[in-house]
Symmetry: C2
Subunit: 156 residues, 2 copies
């Protein structure tokens, strides 16, 4: 049960303010991503103002969830590949969201992601967003560990 473990964000970036995943951003989405085998999983519940129209989750919020969750999945994969004890600070290079059907906004959604390629300083991550038992959206993105001097180098 992934909810019973501490999330990657709370372990490695408790002071993070990112709109999508910063535990310290009170107006943010504050997703909690937890490793579960080879996947990373997050369960998140929308608020009313996250809708696109009545009862349906905004595609931009869906993209934000998938982007941040995938970025953490990449950071975790890069950490494991390096045998490090903490994740590198990663940023999104690009992400591609496919919206397969309207995603109901009345209850929790489940994000599930996996690094499908890890090479050097970057990871390619594939992710899904599921609600009421159906995959509403998929995402594939590239995430990069930044070097010293990049403004994100100390993001967590």
């Amino acid at each position: 049960m992934p909810e019973r473990t501490t999330s990657l964000q709370d372990i490695y970036a408790a002071q993070g303010v990112c709109f999508g995943c910063g535990p310290a951003n009170e107006c943010g989405l504050r997703i909690k991503s937890r490793p579960q085998g080879e996947n990373v999983v997050a369960i998140w519940t929308p608020e009313k103002h996250h809708e696109a129209f009545e009862g349906v989750l905004s595609g931009g919020i869906i993209g934000t969830l998938l982007d941040c969750h995938s970025n953490w999945t990449a950071a975790w994969a890069l950490m494991r590949a390096a045998g490090a004890d903490h994740p590198p600070c990663t940023v999104t290079a690009e992400y591609h969201v496919r919206l397969l059907r309207p995603t109901p906004a009345g209850g929790p959604v489940t994000l599930s992601a996996r690094a499908v390629e890890v090479k050097g300083d970057r990871a390619i991550v594939e992710a899904t967003l599921e609600a009421e038992g159906k995959v509403g959206a998929t995402c594939r993105g590239t995430f990069v560990a930044v070097k010293p001097g990049h403004p994100a180098y100390h993001r967590w």
Copy 2:
């Protein structure tokens, strides 16, 4: 000066609640997209909680802005192609965001989009997000006019 005209959202969807573009969503981004020649332009100013980390705009917010702005660009293009007096209700099929550099969050950003292909019920739109004179992100997406029976059919 596009700010002096009424936005597409305010003309055609004043009661819209979409997180990204609904004029009636007080917690939303409330972008205002205005035709300007063949392009559609929006100028939007971030709030502090839209950051990814200190001084830099969240990639998820960037995607949300580009998605909603491109969707309105598609609706407007489809309206013009059909010779209609109001836009069809459109939804996002897919969008691909490329983040070229960190986008400063301390001032306004400019979204600019153009339909590069309009065919039947769908449009392909390319868009950029610029801040402090530099393009920070680009987006290419496919947007579709929904049919009667789709939950978005009466979204505006």
